[in-house]
């Protein structure tokens, strides 16, 4: 049974999540990929404010396809997360508590997650049509010039995610594979 959680996250809620758990996320998330992350970190370096409230925020690494008239968004699955590894620790240290993407994270990101009590969620890569149904509204926040990579505020309902790396460093990419191999080899 999937656990229901809400974004923005609290440190208390994030601390309870464990790698391997299925969750349904509802609330507000912000979209950002490579180009937007680069700009965020330039703002931080210049001592300027970020274009969205970072405290407790959940960032979805997604560049959606364009919305058809009458729809909030197009296809909206995750992009590969390691490309944001250079920028993620800066945002985590400022209060970001959740990241949604797919694929491995580097040691510096995992350390920053543990330091700040943050969680990394996996959404199913390549299931963008299905995931788009959970997006109830999408609103441009900034960087329209980046097209698909612009920052958008999404209101999502029951977005199906898996906790991949938890705030204690538990990592489903390691434990899930080991558990499968153990199960297979004992049959």
């Amino acid at each position: 049974m999937a656990k229901h959680i809400t974004a923005p996250l609290t440190k208390e809620a994030a601390a309870q999540l464990r790698a391997g758990e299925s969750v349904l996320l509802s609330g507000t998330v912000y979209t950002a990929r490579d180009a937007a992350h680069k700009r965020f970190c330039e703002l931080v370096a210049a001592g300027k404010p970020l274009p969205f409230p970072i405290e407790g925020s959940v960032i979805y690494y997604v560049g959606p396809s364009p919305a058809r008239p009458g729809q909030p968004i197009g296809s909206a699955g995750p992009t590969t997360s390691y490309r944001m590894d250079a920028y993620a620790p800066t945002l985590l240290d400022l209060g970001e508590l959740g990241m949604i993407g797919k694929g491995k994270r580097g040691p510096a990101v995992i350390e920053a997650m543990k330091r700040n009590g943050a969680v990394y969620f996996g959404a199913i890569g390549g299931a963008g049509a299905l995931l788009s149904r959970c997006v109830k509204s999408a609103e441009l926040v900034c960087y329209e010039d980046l097209g698909a990579e612009a920052v958008r505020r999404l209101v999502v309902q029951d977005l199906p995610l898996t906790v991949v790396i938890d705030s204690q460093g538990g990592n489903l990419y390691e434990t899930g594979r080991a558990a499968y191999l153990a199960q297979r080899d004992c049959v």
Binding site: A35, R68, A76, G126, Y180
Partner: protein, 277 residues
């Protein structure tokens, strides 16, 4: 000599871009369903069910938001004369397909200044001259989550079959969860540095699960698929049997001093559509 207006190519490319991104080919669907039946991991079964649900929606929303770079393969009969500018006709088709089909524009004009071209052009265009008076067009939009996990190695002849196997398995292992497994593994062996990479890309165009027509390489494909699916990476990297759906190997003669080997990885949204004009 047969005359073909480049406008016909534009129209075909436009509709193929949309079709490829919204309808998964039957060979891919059937391979995924077969993998689901063979899957023995509980988490993995659930992921594969979601993947099947996603491609079964069948509306006009792209299957994946990364609608790719438009890789367009043309086999042009030597007895056809195409009026107009061919590359321009293909790019116009991509522009129309990606704009009118609400597909994502994922191309930047320069790899370092990174300004989006706004219409997903230019296409990556591959042209072969073949006998006959027809034009065969294949559109294969390629996402970069999987493209980024691809590798090439200039192995030594002494590395032999064992070296080729090691490089392919190592590439899949390094990719892990990143390219959205279950993946398709396109392999090129032989040729030159550039042709080897192209072989690997062309291997991805073969109907999924159709073995090489060379029995030696058909066996090797089967063996590698088994080994990859024994690794435990599984769908999305969460653990399971279905790490890859297929391994396709293409080869070319090569130089006495070389053994080039390229691995082009594709995700389960393995899009390809072909039309003959």
């Amino acid at each position: 000599m047969r005359e073909l207006a480049s406008e016909a190519i534009t129209q075909a490319v436009a509709r193929m871009c949309v079709q490829a991104n919204t309808r998964l080919p039957e060979d891919v669907k059937s391979c995924i369903r077969q993998a689901r039946r063979a899957e023995d991991g509980a988490v993995a079964q659930e992921i594969l069910d979601r993947i099947i649900e996603n491609f079964s929606i069948g509306g006009d929303t792209p299957i994946c938001q990364d609608t790719g770079m438009a890789c367009v393969f043309l086999e042009i009969g030597q007895e056809v004369h195409i009026s107009g500018d061919l590359a321009q006709a293909v790019n116009e088709g991509v522009r129309l397909g990606y704009t009118e089909g609400y597909l994502r524009k994922s191309v930047v004009r320069d790899p370092l200044d990174r300004v989006n071209t706004g219409d997903n052009t230019p296409a990556m265009l591959y042209i072969d001259l073949v006998p006959g008076d027809q034009v065969k067009i294949t559109v294969a939009p390629k996402g970069f989550g999987s493209e980024n996990m691809s590798r090439i190695a200039m192995l030594k002849p002494s590395d032999g079959l064992a070296g080729v196997k090691r490089f392919i398995l190592e590439t899949v292992e390094l990719a892990g969860p990143n390219p959205c497994p279950p993946i398709v593994v396109g392999v090129g062996v032989g040729g030159t540095f550039d042709k080897c990479a192209l072989l690997a890309k062309r291997a991805l165009l073969r109907d999924m699960g159709v073995p090489s027509d060379n029995p030696f390489y058909a066996d090797l494909e089967r063996e590698l698929l088994e080994q990859i699916n024994a690794s435990g990476i599984g769908p999305q990297g969460f653990g399971g049997r279905t790490t890859a759906l297929a391994v396709h190997i293409e080869t070319l003669p090569t130089h006495i001093a070389g053994l080039p080997c390229a691995v082009n990885i594709n995700c389960h949204v393995a899009r390809h559509v072909t039309e003959v004009l």
